[in-house]
């Protein structure tokens, strides 16, 4: 199925971008493979552990581990030229974010969960890999700070669940969502859309 093809392309791209970040943090060959795998597969793993959806994706598809470890090693071998492919990675990452979110919605639907939970399941799938990557690299997660990124996962989930509830077939709804979500994410990058953030407001006092 075409959604699966996009998913595989996306986990390869995510693993490569995670491995690059691991290299920048001074990790060794093993560590950057871990970061690559976790970035690519961590979101789905958290989703499945939280929803009680077993076996987890990579447990029933061990080849995903091979793909993502291979992608991490490839990233290590080609680290000096990869940044020149930045545009390609942004495209793969944008498609991946949307594909991850749709797949997360599908998993929740297969468990007959509430539509709102399906949207959250999509968001967990879309953003938690990057959150885990940033925690392992000891950074405040990027997606929580300054990108119109996580919001795309939310909008994609609402759109997809909405289209399904209108009676569209899953394939058609997924295709429409993928195209619109992809355009939305690229527009967010191109026009530097951001949600309001609160970084400069040092006068906010803790209530702890």
């Amino acid at each position: 199925m075409w959604l699966h093809t996009i998913y595989v392309i996306a986990i390869v791209a995510e693993a490569m971008s995670g491995a690059i970040m691991g290299m920048r943090m001074g990790m060794d060959l093993f560590g950057l493979c871990v970061i690559g795998v976790v970035t690519a597969l961590g979101g789905g793993t958290i989703r499945d552990a939280v929803l009680g959806h077993h076996p987890v994706g990579w447990v029933s598809h061990p080849e995903y581990l091979v793909f993502t470890v291979g992608a991490s090693l490839l990233a290590a071998a080609t680290a000096r030229v990869l940044p020149r492919l930045r545009q390609a990675f942004l495209l793969a990452d944008a498609a991946g974010l949307v594909a991850f979110s749709i797949i997360g919605c599908n998993i929740a639907n297969s468990l007959a969960l509430h539509p709102g939970i399906a949207v959250v399941s999509g968001m967990i799938t879309g953003i938690c890999g990057g959150v885990l990557r940033d925690i392992l690299c000891n950074e405040v997660p990027l997606v929580l700070r300054r990108e119109f990124y996580a919001s795309v996962a939310l909008i994609v989930g609402v759109l997809y669940i909405g289209l399904l509830s209108l009676g569209l077939e899953q394939d058609v709804a997924a295709l429409i969502t993928l195209v619109l979500g992809f355009i939305l994410r690229l527009a967010a990058i191109r026009f530097r859309w951001r949600l309001p953030s609160f970084g400069g407001e040092k006068n906010i006092h803790s209530i702890h």
Copy 2:
């Protein structure tokens, strides 16, 4: 049930305090909602994933997500006045810590687990939300460092399980535990109780 009412008040207060911390870390509107939700619901989620208790609380009660997202947005809108309500938050947080712990014990009991595991289940529920918040904000978790806070979760769990084992009805045991635990936590704040900590002992050598 009154314990549920206290729980809802507590998750709202926890979400607001989490969102405030997210704002201080420079997160955007989406990020601070995530921090708010995770602070409020993360402890119960970890507990349920570890104990294999599905569906997780917010999956069967999606309204908890609405409450905590709403509380996070409210915190963002009122950030400048919230610190003046510090006293109210401390009270809500103290009641919440005790209510979370009691609820965690109840979940473990519903799974017929060992009484000691019920106490641990209460502690996970009470403190892991704050631990996740601090990890996402890239801080060493506050509750592990310098507050007589996590200890309250432990004492509350032991007291509650002890009262149940004496044959008290669940409601009576919960009420007694809530009152005593609440007083204990406020006394800990008032009199600045602390466990011994080891921060100054730089002469402790790693054994790694």
Copy 3:
């Protein structure tokens, strides 16, 4: 069974080393017990939550919590002399890494999972406790950065699953793996084996 004995020795040693690290981070008595318990039991807990293997180890064996809390308190009481026992800890940690990995493989096999997943299950068991410890202490996980440590978990898993697939009995395969894995880890320490790492390559550009 002898593997269980080594496991118990290993969780005690891991808890003590985790508690020592918690003390160095300025944690209080409660916090260092949490770090000790998480370091010792966190890897198995993540493995079980991800694989859907319930009840988790310490839930069916609450005595593991007693052992690891006791070990953490003992470490706090003897912090000044412990570093002199560094050699003993390195030996216990090396045996523990191998025992953890073998046990993780066994759990996956008991769930009839793919051999490759069994190896990953062993690695999660062996290294995730230390990863959680470092996340809680706000450090980039040591095992991802500069030790031939995680690689031992990988090699041990491949060796053990390989021996089982050759038809050896579980006990024999475990014993051979334990001896060879132990020697491998000690050799890695003695001869300072490292995987290539990428710390100095500041000219690697992010592709985000």
